[in-house]
């Protein structure tokens, strides 16, 4: 009987979720839902410092082991936050490009298609990077391979900064 009860409860939860998703799909966006207003500024210099292997090596040499591990974890936790913000910005970009892809002007629609494609790739990079950063938190030596994608990520954050310039920026990190 326990299995049946569990399945009934789970299906009820899924049903409620579905109804909520359906309601959200057709709620008209409010003024506060303007994606441009939600873009977060990502400090590229601070992020570069956080994932710089040379900086990590310097700290490792200067600090006692337990102190270094603590600080290393905190630094990577902050890096995860930066990546999350960048991923959120990419999601906002997606929403903007999604509307623009239906533009009657072919050039705008084409540009929006490309932007959409690239914003998705950007989000994929972010999702790939976050687990790696968590692994690096647990195993400090494992952090080095993750840092190889830092250069790519730097470009992404620059792109987000550019968005911040184009649109009003709020919620700075």
């Amino acid at each position: 009987m326990t299995t049946a009860i569990v399945l009934v409860v789970l299906s009820a939860i899924v049903l409620i979720l579905l109804i909520r998703v359906a309601a959200d799909q057709y709620l008209s966006p409010k003024a506060s839902d303007d994606p441009a207003e939600k873009i977060r500024f990502v400090d590229i210099e601070a992020f570069r410092n956080l994932i710089d292997p040379a900086e990590a090596d310097y700290l490792r040499n200067q600090l006692p082991a337990h102190e270094f591990r603590k600080i290393h974890r905190e630094r990577l936790r902050a890096a995860v936050e930066y990546v999350r913000y960048a991923a959120q910005n990419a999601a906002l970009l997606l929403k903007i490009a999604e509307t623009a892809r239906y533009s009657s002007e072919p050039a705008t629609a084409q540009a929006a298609e490309k932007l959409l494609d690239n914003a998705i790739r950007l989000r994929l990079y972010a999702f790939e990077m976050i687990p790696r950063l968590y692994v690096a938190m647990l195993v400090p030596r494992h952090g080095l391979p993750t840092m190889r994608v830092a250069d790519r990520y730097e470009q992404m954050t620059r792109q987000i900064i550019l968005l911040g310039v184009k649109f009003p920026v709020s919620g700075n990190l």
């Binding site: 009987m1 299995t3 049946a4 399945l7 009934v8 789970l10 299906s11 009820a12 899924v14 049903l15 979720l17 579905l18 998703v21 359906a22 799909q25 008209s28 966006p29 839902d33 303007d34 994606p35 441009a36 999601a91 970009l93 997606l94 929403k95 903007i96 490009a97 999604e98 509307t99 623009a100 239906y102 533009s103 002007e105 050039a107 705008t108 540009a111 929006a112 490309k114 932007l115 959409l116 494609d117 690239n118 914003a119 998705i120 790739r121 950007l122 989000r123 994929l124 999702f127 250069d151 790519r152 470009q155 992404m156 620059r158 792109q159 550019l162 968005l163 184009k166 649109f167």
Partner: protein
Amino acid sequence: MPFLELLWRTLWFLGVGLHGLLTLVAIKRGFQRVYPVFACYISWVTIVGVALLYMDYAPSVKGNEYFVAYIVALVTGSAARFAIVYEIFKHILNRYPALSRSGTLLFRLVTVALLGLVIVLAKLSPPAGSDPLMSTVSLLETTVDIVLVGLLLFLFAFSGLFSLSWRSHAFGIALGLGIFGTVSLSTSAIRAQLQPTAPNQMTNITNVINEGAYVICALIWLGYLLATERPRQTPTPPKHDLGTWNQELQRFLHR
């Protein structure tokens, strides 16, 4: 005839009629060109529904003949529902080529994981009821519903994760399937547990719920089919920005 039985039989007729109407509307609107699996499914459900209704009322049809027809309807309907979920997923991915490879891989992984889960659940669930054939059918219904609901959840979670927008028709189909799947999962789990040997109050209640979900599902699909598709409205940025943003993104991606 008890009220509940009368109610579920009425809902059964109504459901079949609505699916017939749905098929006509879908064909008239050329839906079979965009969602061929879905169009085949609703046509098949209508045909099977009419056949089962006839068999249920015809005195010449024996119980075991009806049972065979029911099993055929169950197996083909379940297979078609999985195909519809895949069709919707493909439609979403076609609009976002960047996700095509990783999305397909994830879909396959989730399907395998769900199949593994239901096999384990089926092995662990204690045998209930005296009729082994009915036990197997109940178990089959429950496991099919678990996989279906799981795949639909994945579909919604995946599109939510990447902030993908749905065409309203695809969303409507998934929503209808989701509602039908969750309700069917609840009732099949109860039936699998209680295993009634003859129609009683409990079977009448589960039948009313199932047939009600069948009707609601048809109404949702009909509503979405009749509605005009429109993209979600979000503020549009000045058009020259798109090119600049894309250049920056490409610099990042192709570095």
